[in-house]
Each structure stands twice: as structure tokens, then as C-alpha cells.
Symmetry: D2
Subunit: 108 residues, 4 copies
């Protein structure tokens, strides 16, 4: 399986080969990320909790979920490339901060 | 630097230790992902292209960008855990499909 | 032209006649509103300012804009019906608050 | 109570008096609309259906809901002003189309 850094490289080459780089500004990529997150949410918007839990059992909806996950991750990674942020480090540091901010519940 | 799989494990332990798992349904996580993507977009919504390109030069806005990137990635990873999707494989396969769908521009 | 209150009534009758009311919870409608706002943004996400300013000159994109505006307004109105908020009063009061919060620029 | 057209006029005067018009491009307003819709959704993202149904019983969350409804409507109206679309006509025509597209359920 590729690493996130390898996929970031593949996405950069993909955009360069199609001359899409001028469109890949931080603002445009943040907009595209939000649009794709909305498309993922759209799959679930009218589902009951039971239907939502079963969404991967139907091959068509499972494919749609994987497709939207890929789109969200692609735009997030390309945004990070555009602004020079490492997403894994950003998340690692955020979890550190959240461990201080939200103490764990005591064992019962 | 941790891998995405290691961060997914950290996030699962974090949620379990706080008994947040009942809230982490696929539908709720897709909603939270969209909300956080919107918060990332909010940083850029009124900026000119020049201002957007310089957003990481200001320490406060750079921190805010990293913080929102972390939140988006955290909810995406937790969504993937909830539905049993590997995000790296999903993106790798999507790039494969896009290479067939969008031929590269010819060299000039 | 119908008033917003008349359109709210039409939307309520429309949903009742199709037995869609159980789906129209505040949470689902807020999710649908966000999804549709994303679809409106999608039209503009890769456009330059010049292209965005000309979006209504093309009949197809003009129709798409009107269609997404209608969807956003429909879900906003239905959300307001579900929670018992009058959107016109809410906006009127918000402008009052903003006039105090953001003083007007002095005349030059 | 003011009409939607009167509120649109108030919003135009408000933006002009603060010289905010250069920022109010269709693309920026569509982005801001999506951001605000996300903020409305944020209120509901972790709530159970029972909690969501009771959201207006708490004065603080009721105020927050009205405030976000106002923001969504404000950006939608300003977007419509920027592109020259009448939102009430757009919705009226969309309901007409939907009545043909989704036949009503037969009476039981």
C-alpha cells in the first residue's frame, strides 16, 4: 500500500501532466475539499442510523463512499502541498493538544 | 513521523478512552468532516489570491490552517474506521481511474 | 411573485403529500442545506474572477445557478419550519445587531 | 415584518456603507454561504434526534440557530443580488418542476 507522502507525489505529477497547477490555489482547493465533503455527507443525509450502518453492504453505495473518501483525501493532500503543511504532523500534534484539553473518562 | 494507520489507531484509542464511540456514527462523522472543511475554507473566503498565497507567513493564520487540516484529516480517518474503508487504497485506486479518465496534456 | 411565507406553505404541502415529513428533521435538513450550498459553490470552484462574473451569460450554467439557489432556499425554509424560526425576522434582527457591531466607513 | 426584497436592499446598503462590495463576488459569497451552512449543521452534528428536536428549548442554542439561519439567508440573498437571480422566483419554479418529477403518494 502506498504511503500518504507517495500519494501526494502521485497527485502532484498528475496535476502537472495536465497543467492543472494554476487552478490549484489554496483557496480553490479548500473550496473543492468542502464540496467533496458535502458529496460524502449527501450519501447519508436521509438515512436512518440503521441504514447508515449498512451503507457498505450495498456494492453501489460502498463504491460511492470509497470514491468520495478518495476525493476528500485528494483535495486535502493537494491543499497541504500548496500551503506546505505536512498533514500527518499536523494531526499528530493536534492529538497531543487534545489529550491535554479533553482528559480521559475515569475507569468505572 | 507517524503513518496514517498509526494516527488512525491513536484516534480510536482517544475516542474509546473518552467513551465518544456512540457519537462516532458514519453520518455524524461525515457531517463533522463537512463542518471542519468549511472552517478551513472560512480562513480563505474573503482573501485575494495574493493574500491567500501568503497565509502561512503569519504565525496565527498558519497555526489556524494546520489546526483545521488536522481536524479534517481526523474526521476523515475516523469516518474510514467507522465504515471499514482504507483511505490510502481508496485514493490510490481513484488516481488509477482518473489517469484513464483524464489523459495527460501532450508535451508542447 | 409569491412571498417567502407562501413558498414555505407550498414546501410543507409538497412534503406532506409525499410523506417525506419523517425525514425532515432539523439535523437532516441542516445537512441537506450544507450539501446544496456545496453544490452551488462547485459551479464556481475552478473559475477565475472573470469567468465567475460571466456565469449567468451561459444558459446552462445560469440554469444550474438558479436550480442550486432554489435548493438552498428550499432546505433553509424547511429547516426554519421544522424548528419554528421565521427566517425574515431572524435576518432583520441580525442586520440590526451588525449595524451596531460594524460601524459604517466614514464618507471620504 | 420586512419582505425578502426589503432585506436584500438593506443588505446592499449595509455592504456599500462599509465598502465591502469588492469582496462580494459570486464565488466568495458562495463560499461564505457554504461556511455558514456548516456552522448551522455544527449545532446538530453530535445530537441525538431527541436532543435535536429540543434545540429551541434552550435559549442559548435557540439564539445560535436563529443567528446561523440569518447568516445563511444573508449570504444567499447577497449571492442572488450579485448574479441577478430572484430567489423567490427560482424556488417557485423549482417546486413546479419537482411536482412533475416526484408524483405525490396516493391516498391510503
Amino acid at each position: 500500500m502506498p504511503s500518504l507522502a507517495e500519494l501526494a507525489g502521485r497527485l502532484s505529477e498528475f496535476a502537472a501532466a495536465r497543467r492543472w497547477e494554476p487552478f490549484h490555489t489554496p483557496k480553490n482547493l479548500a473550496a473543492a475539499l468542502t464540496v467533496e465533503a458535502g458529496e460524502l455527507l449527501e450519501i447519508f443525509q436521509w438515512l436512518t442510523p440503521e441504514q447508515a450502518a449498512a451503507v457498505m453492504e450495498d456494492p453501489d453505495s460502498a463504491h460511492r463512499v470509497r470514491d468520495e473518501v478518495a476525493d476528500v483525501l485528494a483535495y486535502l493532500v493537494q491543499f497541504c502541498t500548496a500551503v506546505g503543511v505536512d498533514p500527518l504532523t499536523a494531526l499528530d500534534e493536534k492529538i497531543d493538544r487534545n489529550e491535554l484539553r479533553f482528559p480521559a473518562a475515569p475507569a468505572e
